[in-house]
């Protein structure tokens, strides 16, 4: 009896340790697997050429990732330009100005926004945003656009990133002590002045991290953007042009990558690029959060 209990305990704790090690080794495995797969490409092309070249002709063995990188970054930045003010001000409204029931009401709204699958956002983008950009917004700027554009991708991406960023910001503002607000108000500040000068400064590292992590989340988004951005491998000249993001490139070409030599290697290099960039961004901003929690 006692023996079996002890045995159970020892087996179970070994199993726990094994699971943990598996989780910790997974990203290493991903990283090294992708490196291994992209090695053939890296042997025949220089890293500089792969990243900065604009020529994407897989059948000619030319793999320049620059257009995809530019589009990815551009569309993500544009998305954040839209979603940051929305998230920042609404998190301020919900934590500072609104009655409590409004925040209670917003929680499920945020949950559902976070839960809607990427592909459904894509469908919505196709039905609403693409025509909106093509028929309404582009003419406003005297531009011709089919609607399948960076802007369409950015708007869809902005809405998708709202729940992610907003949740983090709500947490940031929730953690600011009430007394700090009382101190500022008692010095004669209005509520908005208190928010502007004190709360935003107090939460600055948290706010910055929310934006940074939102950026990395949006950068990796695949299907929804792919559905509305047009997928033309070019360096877009304006936000009404089509583009082709890095995740979109990987997702769209998995089927034919076996038919062209080095193509699979190139796509895995793309995945590696994405992986490395996103992990670095995550490490930086998670570290900032971690540091700010210590104080």
């Amino acid at each position: 009896m006692i023996l079996s209990r002890k045995l159970k305990d020892s087996i179970s704790s070994k199993w726990m340790l094994a699971c943990l090690s598996f989780c910790l080794l997974l990203p290493l495995a991903i990283g090294s697997g992708l490196v291994l797969k992209s090695l053939p490409l890296l042997q025949s092309h220089s890293l500089k050429e792969l990243i900065f070249s604009e020529d994407w002709f897989p059948s000619d063995n030319q793999f320049g990732f620059w257009p995809f990188i530019v589009t990815s970054v551009w569309v993500t930045v544009l998305a954040l330009i839209i979603s940051i003010p929305l998230c920042l001000l609404s998190s301020i409204y919900l934590t500072q100005f609104a009655p409590k029931w409004v925040l209670k009401f917003m929680r499920p709204v945020i949950d559902i926004l976070a839960g809607i699958p990427s592909v459904v956002y894509g469908v919505w983008g196709l039905l609403v945003i693409v025509p909106l950009v093509g028929d309404k917004i582009a003419p406003l700027f005297h531009q011709d656009s089919l609607g399948y554009s960076l802007l369409a991708g950015a708007i869809v991406l902005a809405v998708m990133s709202i729940p992610y960023i907003l949740n983090m910001l709500l947490e940031v503002f929730r953690q600011i002590p009430v007394e700090l607000g009382e101190a500022s108000l008692s010095l004669g500040a209005t509520k908005w002045e208190t928010i502007k000068h004190i709360f935003i400064r107090k939460g600055s590292s948290g706010i910055l991290s929310a934006f940074g992590l939102g950026f990395s989340k949006a950068l990796g988004e695949t299907i929804a953007v792919l559905m509305v951005i047009g997928n033309v491998p070019q360096i877009p000249q304006s936000m009404f042009d089509s583009g082709y993001t890095l995740p979109g490139l990987i997702a769209n070409n998995y089927g034919e990558m076996m038919s062209i030599p080095s193509y699979d290697s190139a796509l895995m290099f793309g995945a590696l690029l994405l992986f490395v960039i996103i992990v670095i961004i995550n490490i930086i901003f998670r570290y900032i959060i971690y540091k700010s929690e210590l104080i």
Partner: protein
């Protein structure tokens, strides 16, 4: 107070309200759009039948293959993720509780892992499949999705277990339980409602993700009978049918979008209802 300060206060009060309203409006608009487009095409046939001959030219059939496939995939991935996550979350909070630094490091690591996009998981799994010589299949999709949702599940469970007071653990150990018994009997029971939320959250992530299964699960018109067969999934059913030029097929994509959205809505609402009140 000067007039300018007063105006500034009121302006931002209004603007922040407006922006919140815009977010609510966006959600309503999305659901309204999907419902308006998809509900008219919903029918019993769509939910209850597999695609028949000529389906992709607008003939008879439904997307039962994708609905069933998605459920098979999401359920098995969630189960697999749970089998890995539960021991890890408990291990962290029982065995590692004295090693705060290590614990912080692990949490940090898992948070970073959470940020890795699903397309990277998909691409990596695909490479692995190729290397091992396997085909796209339900099993491969399950493993990929499980790997993707495991960090989410561990951290969600960890947050729940973390709140259980250390006194409870000590009391249990003092009564002569082994650490394992403490873990599974005491902690597990205490944290059950929180775990349910974590599982629903991960399940929702799993059923909605397209990028990871695109590479690994394949696509088929049949309901899979084993893990080695390929399987259709709802997100891909939407994605593929939408690119068809035929209107009937596109309409079925909208109907599938309604089904997927409904599933996710139900998951969200039940996760919130289950969440223990603080």
């Amino acid at each position: 107070m000067t007039v300018r300060r007063k105006y500034e206060e009121n302006f931002f009060r209004f603007l922040s309200f407006l922006f919140t309203a815009i977010i609510v409006f966006a959600l309503v608009q999305i659901i309204w759009t999907i419902a308006k487009k998809g509900v008219p095409s919903l029918s019993w046939q769509i939910i209850s039948q597999e695609p028949k001959g000529g389906y992709y030219f607008g003939k008879d059939g439904g997307i039962l293959n994708a609905i069933a496939g998605s459920f098979y995939l999401a359920v098995s991935a969630t189960v697999l993720a749970f089998i890995i996550s539960l021991p890890v979350a408990l291990f962290m909070n029982i065995y590692l509780i004295r090693y705060q630094r290590l614990l912080i490091g692990i949490r940090f690591f898992l948070d970073v892992l959470w940020g890795v996009p699903s397309i990277v998981y998909g691409a990596f799994s695909f490479t692995l499949l190729m290397y091992l010589g396997y085909k796209n299949s339900l099993g491969a999709g399950t493993i990929t999705v499980a790997a993707m949702i495991t960090p989410i599940m561990i951290r969600a469970m960890d947050e729940v277990v973390k709140t259980i007071p250390i006194g409870l653990q000590e009391a249990s150990l003092a009564l002569g339980s082994t650490k394992t018994e403490t873990a599974y009997k005491v902690f597990f029971r205490e944290a059950l409602p929180g775990f349910a939320t974590a599982i629903l959250l991960a399940f929702g992530r799993g059923i909605g993700d397209a990028a990871s299964v695109l590479f690994t699960a394949g696509y088929t018109d049949y309901i899979p009978h084993s893990f080695s067969e390929p399987t259709a999934t709802l997100p891909l059913a939407i994605f593929f049918q939408l690119s068809s030029p035929i209107e009937e097929v596109q309409n079925r994509a909208y109907a599938a979008a309604v089904i997927l959205t409904l599933i996710v809505l139900v998951l969200s609402v039940s996760a919130r209802l289950l969440k223990p009140r603080k």
